[in-house]
Amino acid sequence: MRKSYITIIHELGKLLLSIFLLSVLVFTMSRLAPGDPLYSYYGDQVEKMGPQEQEEARERLGLHEPLPVQYARWFQGAVRGDFGISYKYKTDVKEVIAGRIGNTLLLGGLGFVIIFGVALLLGLFCAWREDKWADRVVCGIGTVTSCIPEFWLSLLLILVFSVWLGWLPSSGAYSVGMEGSLADRVRHLVLPLTVVVLGHLWYYAYLVRNRLLEETRADYVLLARMKGLSGKQVLYRHCLRNAMPSYLSMMAIALPHILGGTYVAETVFSYPGIGTLAYESARYQDYNLLMLISLMTGGLVIVGNMFAKVINERIDPRMGLKTGGMSEEVKD
């Protein structure tokens, strides 16, 4: 009991340290990258301002001080929950993000649920029909879908469903004036969601399939078969259960990647989410916005990894030294 408290405190400390280091890293990286944040604030008007005015503007935004001082100032605010204002939107960054995060959570969250539901089913199906024609067909199609670059898939979908067939809208999260309509939102969600799902699906389905195939080669399967259980029963009751820890830890690691990996789909479909916001803020030096988004997505990755580790260790104490079974291969 006592030991687990210490572990929790230890892990929590590591978590905070990681997030602190992450913030330092992102802070220095964003400020060292060339580019002028004044453009983000004033737009093209910067060119009309004299050097005197530019200097004053910099001073107002607190950009004239040395980096460590700027970081300390940011840090002081951040611990109190004040992350500063966005240069481009000129309001509190939390408000800017709050206005958009729902869209991304909807897209990424729905994508996540579909990906893992379908991946499990596909993995089970393929393991059940191993090396039969059905498995081969699914594997073939899966490999092809996993190879299609997301942006190109998006273009293809737009070309077919918006330009040629005219069935679905090609951009935005809703039509103007139809913000409340559910049907309209769903229509706008279909194509980006397809891209998000297809971009990740086969990767995870294949991992599930291979993990299950590994299980079916264990001796206990032979024993269960000798007891008289059918192959299907063994697969569902024994193999699936043994593969569950890796499946769960895979989910923990995948969550931030799927939630944070929607930016390609968001960009192509001009879907107003965090992904497009992150892209803008990174390119146009909207420092405060960039910091908060990075901390959110990075923090999610760190927490996800930690969960994966805990799941593995809790369910299978032998995992203590190795880090994650299947999770080792999960892509970045």
Binding site: S146, W152, N210, T323
Partner: protein, 271 residues
Amino acid sequence: MKKRFPGISLFILTVVIAGCLACGAVMTKDPAYMDLANSNTAPCRAFFFGTDAMGRDVFSMIWHGGRVSLFIGFLATLISTAVAVLVGSVSGCAPAWIDGAMMGLTDIVLSVPGLLLTVFLQAVLGGSSVIGLAVVIGLTGWMSMARVVRTEVLQLKNMDYVLAARCLGGGFFHILCRHLAPNFIPSILFMAVMNVRSAIVAESTLSFMGIGLPVEVISWGSMLSLSENALITRSWWTVLIPGVFLLVTLLCLTNLGNYMRKSGSKRHSNL
């Protein structure tokens, strides 16, 4: 499950690579020449794959641009593999606290949003050139391979032959090259091939989003960066054809990579 040799994939890949390397012999036109009178022409006898919005011949651009895309794929993989092997093996051999710190740092780098890392590296290294972009992609893709190398090294370093080599006074690089690397190469070979794949995807995605190669530097990615306009003018060939080339190359690489993957157990299913 018996693995079949991916002959077809290898053949197609060879054809694509050979075509790109010898693009001078394959091309029918100058890929950079803008024939504005014939812009957005559908595929026909003069222009096998049509022309893009700037009147450039898509057929010639594909072979010429493929060279850039493949080069970036291979160079980026070379860089990321080198970094991964170095970080992974140093981390695996070092005392526990250095190992912990290095892996912790790797995790933190991994948690920086990939996009920010790319934009930053690109701004610092001046990444709108071909080599610059390859370096950027290489430096953002070494983390997961480094972890695999480390896990392998952790198991290998306690082997008797490594101990023997150390007793005989073998230095770190000697042991790495002669004893460790030959043992972990099979398990990262598959990842390396997959890295070529993801580097090519990264190049095309970045160029498409306007933070990779500019339109003047022809690559499969920069060819597709004009495709949003192509959607409006309905010139499907500028979207479809480079994409299909890209896809087929990626598919062949995947098949090749899967073939190289260490096959788990040769046993039959007990199910």
